[in-house]
Symmetry: D2
Subunit: 436 residues, 4 copies
């Protein structure tokens, strides 16, 4: 009925864009895209032009009738879109650097998606995303918003609670695990069943079956694990893993091995700067490659960037939504009645059946007692931080920071909060209205 799809990628100047473009080209038979709009802000114009040029060359090479549009006009891109995806970094890598650096200065984990760093990222990002939602509500109310922007769970929850936009949060960790299991057991994804319990960047894998055989005990026993490139490898304690009875997400190392992870961060910081600074260098190199007018495909170096499978996750999800595919994907959606200890509107990371009308969260068949405390503790922080982001209320921000399990006390929270808000003030108009 529709004559091809319109897709808007907000933050289109990102170094990840070639990956998603490649995904669209490969899946064109199921996702007939007519227009692909890459949007960015003025400050990102140069990167948008570079990466947009590559995107155009890739499409031309494919011979497909997809029109690639580059724009700074977000509303034009959103108007009538079928899918909007976001991959933004308010404050750029510079802001991330401070998210990671400042907590370290007070003996606290510095991480871009959780802890005080993640909270700052949430405060910067949520109001911008909600502005985008206002545009979608007006200009493409039936669009699906696929949110990759971190902290993806918090951002998605803010959108769900404060807008009418149909939104789904996405992370590459679940698909990464599936790929890893697929390789490990030499089995197609259809033969593997995994179940997740928890939140974005705070999940436990509670079931792993390959061809119906329970593989969890052996994975725990051998301490084999899938880990992202952005989290340092540290070995789990065997006794702990066996009695936990579930595979913890590699992000959980920040909680379960706080001491070792902090030490690792401090050493690494002294040696090569924050992770943001490392990433900055990788990105600069990528953009140099992208400028090559002879490059007509995604360069292999992109895979080292850390966000592997993001594109595949996005394209899979669009495919299932567009084609009412009813397959199971692990997504960030409203809890509903899935976890009985969280509110219905809390965003969780959970297996969903993706139908044409959206994802339906599957019931979880096993929730280890162990997981409940951390999930609730982090969700409490998240909800307080979302409220703070929406209102600019400093008291709420202090409550959020204090109640994060990685923050040891009110006094540390207060010191960090003051320092970090100040450092981010350009990006926090709700907290600094005079800067608007």
């Amino acid at each position: 009925m529709t004559k091809g799809l319109k897709i808007a990628v907000i933050g289109g100047g990102s170094s990840y864009t070639p990956e998603i473009v490649e995904g669209f080209i490969r899946r064109y038979d199921r996702l007939p895209i007519r227009e692909l709009w890459l949007v960015d802000i003025e400050a990102g114009r140069q990167k948008l032009e570079i990466v947009g040029g590559l995107a155009k060359r890739m499409v031309a090479e494919s011979g497909l009738p997809i029109e690639v549009r580059l724009t700074m006009d977000r509303r034009a891109a959103i108007e009538g879109a079928d899918f909007v995806s976001t991959q933004m970094r308010v404050g750029l890598l510079e802001a991330r650097k401070w998210d990671e650096h400042l907590p370290n200065g007070h003996g606290v984990i510095g991480q871009e998606t959780t802890g005080p760093g993640g909270m700052m990222k949430a405060l910067r990002t949520i109001p911008v995303l909600l502005d985008i939602c206002r545009d979608i509500e007006e200009l493409s109310p039936n669009a699906w918003l696929l949110n990759f922007t971190n902290p993806a769970g918090m951002v998605t929850e803010a959108i769900t609670r404060y807008s009418k936009v149909r939104s789904i949060g996405l992370c590459n960790a679940p698909i990464g695990l599936q790929k890893w299991l697929s390789t490990k057991y030499d089995a197609t994804p259809e033969r593997i069943y995994t179940e997740f319990v928890g939140l974005n960047h705070l999940h436990w894998v509670t079931r792993v079956e390959v061809d119906g055989v329970n593989r969890l005990p052996e994975l725990l026993d051998k301490r084999e694990e899938y880990s992202g490139k952005n989290v340092p490898a540290t070995e789990w304690d065997h006794e702990f893993l066996m009695s936990l009875g579930a595979l913890p997400s590699y992000y959980l190392k920040y909680f379960y091995m706080q001491d070792a992870m902090l030490e690792e961060q401090l050493i690494s910081l002294a040696k090569s700067g924050t992770r943001a600074e490392v990433v900055k260098k990788v990105e600069d190199e990528l953009f140099k490659l992208y400028q090559d007018p002879d490059l007509k495909e995604k360069p292999k170096q992109l895979e080292q960037r850390g966000g592997a499978y993001y594109s595949e996750a996005a394209v899979n999800l669009m495919d299932s939504l567009y084609n009412d595919k009813r397959d199971i994907q692990t997504l960030n959606v409203a809890n509903g009645r899935t976890l009985d200890f969280l509110p219905a509107d809390a965003c969780i990371e959970v297996n969903c059946v993706v139908t044409g009308q959206g994802p339906l969260a599957l019931p979880v068949t096993r929730v280890p007692e162990q997981t409940k405390g951390l999930i609730q503790a982090v969700k409490t922080y998240e909800r307080l931080a979302i409220e703070a982001a929406m209102t600019g209320d400093r008291g709420l921000a202090l409550q959020a920071m204090t109640h994060h399990p990685l923050v040891p006390s009110v006094s540390v929270a207060k010191t960090l909060l003051n320092e970090m808000l100040e450092k981010n003030k350009l990006y926090l108009p709700n907290f600094y209205p005079s800067n608007r």
Copy 2:
């Protein structure tokens, strides 16, 4: 119909006993006690005889027809009892000393009712209490068990889940707050309304009304607080308190001011030893007093002991149960559907109407978002520790210790657990079956 009540006090040799005896004498018109049995174990025979002697002299002085019985035969005491109360210390103050001392050695809060110390106390105590429950089920199935034994919330939950005994957990903190408010506002308790949210030793006071006037804002603003003698006084941060919007229990300082409290503990430890050692001295002096054959009343020095109002709380509760009084008391009971994020069988500290058939938990009218994370995190630890206590499963014990919010990592948990189990092995037959 009954010709007077039979009461069994288990741990009757405690230094607190004169307080409860005084309570019984004062409230005789509403609680017509026929027999008061003080029970203790062989190791406590001497203390039982001393304090039992005082109890007899106090009753004689009152002229009331209460028969005081001293015994080492627990079953005889329990048989046909209307009320059984417990105030025990498995392992005595010596065990408490290590509960406080060992965590400090690893930079962790050492406290007798929470953290690794509280967990050890739970592991030692729960199996003993459940043995007592077996006796009650057999010998006085309609008795009410009033449990003062710490950690009172965990012990009560274990009883509720693993026995059929009708049991209620009691703490002196809520009644202490009421007394403090009563004095402060010069108002009888009937004119004051307070509401509690949380667990034993982990509650927030979310409403304070005196003659219908909301006094919470001014209490928060002036940072006025009620504090027990056993927790060092440290001032709350004003901004934190105002944005919290509730009065935190003084036990919450261990969580919100972990750094300062730990420092205080280390200094105090260096200076005067653990709190257990301080208490030991006070107790020795009390027993010296009790021995005086001319002493026929509760000595004033007992009030400095820390457990103020315990007796009043107990006598109030018995009165309401016996007389179907239907007044409101703050008790430790099964959650039911009170807090929607906890299981029905989780023990919480909450306002109850005390009827002749037992307490009915009142709905809580306000649950600040802030409180949920810590409540769930501590409840997760509690439930894992209860399971560990029941089974002697070391893996579960490691899970419990690791998931306590005051424990920073798996590795610290493991080290502490090994050390502390070893130190307590005489009192942990479930973990060391060969020691049975």
Copy 3:
């Protein structure tokens, strides 16, 4: 602090008014009323003047400094009131006559508070009550609204869901049962404990204890029951009652003995007309009595009117709210989490502790499986009818009527609905906007 209370009685011209006036006089020591406003509509002016005259003579006789004001100006009465009570009959007894008569014509129970008749009463009444609530929100936002107007459960639910007024629904059936038990067992109310499960006019008494002794089995076995004057006496089946295990409200006879009750109605209708017509005669006689200028007290004949204890229920409730009495009363309030199969905002009839800040619903300790179906079925009807009343949506009205358990089919529902809406059109502006 306040210098006496202001009370507004809406529908002050009711024949019941002398009862509530008597209640205020008797309880003046606890409820220091300064002004008592009796309000009515123009059509009720004559009755208001008659009953108001009696009220003034009663107060004068008492010597108390209560000022009795008669008015047609509802807003003046509401302004600054501490309590507003309503006892209205939109459409007067004439409308009730048809509520009872028309269903009978189609072989359906005709009853003023349930079934098609009750539904019509709800459709007439709810919009008027919500108009009153708008006035209260504006003119006395802290007032308590005590709603006696039937169907009290539905009206209270509509107020709770569609206004911000603090409202409580009241019925005389629970207090009537208590009085009956009190006489039967020669015991003061404090010695009796009863527990109710269900909705207004649809409850089951699931616990009856006198001095702690369970009296429910003997009440069921002897088929002894409390019954209102407005419901014909028909005996319960013994086997049914014993296996039900709870005392059904006498209103439940319309459901459990539909056939016999209908037959009784048809015979009674043929003989003496509807209950409305019987009541009309009683009322006419009462107003003749009230006119006597020498009458200075509530005449005894009022007690035969059927609404016994309404006044006592009202005065008890005001006393507990004003004095933060914290006693247990059976009231109609929002479900919250009390019954796990009903929504939080559904109005139920349940034991509450009445504090100065309002009633807190007590948990129910026993919900017989048997009760759930009827409660949900009637609540479904109620919620559909409330929606219909608010919107004037005829489709919703058909759904409500069809889903009432006393209505046998869609076709009967449709016929009855058309007939009854037409007969009530003067009082249904939402359904007949042109009549406004």
Copy 4:
């Protein structure tokens, strides 16, 4: 890994058997059956031999290596089975005749799966099914039990609550609706999405989308409906259907058009006897056909029998369980947290994703208020009747009968119960232990 599947069909002598045999033959590529055991009781030996002979000829004709075994030894059939399916009729069609006839005699709907008739069927059937479950628990604890035996919802709930067998209830109504929509819109099932709310034989279809287009409004507007052969065709009222906003199951006519359906039954009874008697004739003719030694395929006449698609439903389910297919099917399973007004262990009819580890109930996205009352009312009856079946408690049976929405009063319930229990006494050992 397994070398072919073993399947046991209990009630294998049923006239439906050729259909399921045909299904197994067609789906052999996905369901590699090694052994197919047809089991029946001694009284059904002749039918088993006839239909078993046909089954053997059908398999021989297919050339597949499936071994067909006929037996009276249930335990041998169950031992080591991968799937057990049940299609039983305790008391045969003779009992069904009285289920339909006796209620009619008292002006009550007579129906084999609901009302007093359905209740009798449940009382006869549940204990027999639980006996089978004891065998499965012992002899093939990992088998899936597919229950087609009516009342399928109640039987499945009884199994779920009182045994450890992994069991799923199946009905042909949902698949029938899907087939009907498929034909009507000329669309493969993958392009159609339907959502069901309710219980077995008491569901509402709340969503119908074809290629993503909502077709529910037009289906309601045109009053187009799918209806089974066993329920007489009667037209829905247009206004009712439009305001209901969902397609009611054709079984709901017994509730919504009680008067018309009863009249139809009485007329039909006078003319041609009960439905049971009609079915008896059809069956006799089928068995005549089956005896023909030249018949090697399912005869077309079987399709008129009423149970269309049962076989397809069964084979689909086995395929998805065996192959971890993860498609959506509408099944009868435990509620879990799907419908918030029913207990977790209540059996509901709901969309499920069928994984290799069993079905996971999908959340329902819309529950019309209208449906809740009837669902709860019928579930209340069901749970009381299940309890009665398990215990033989006559009081519970009276409660169940009285609380069924099709039964007008306690007195009718009591009369019917006495009559019907007496008529069924040979099949009710729990109620008549001396008959055992």
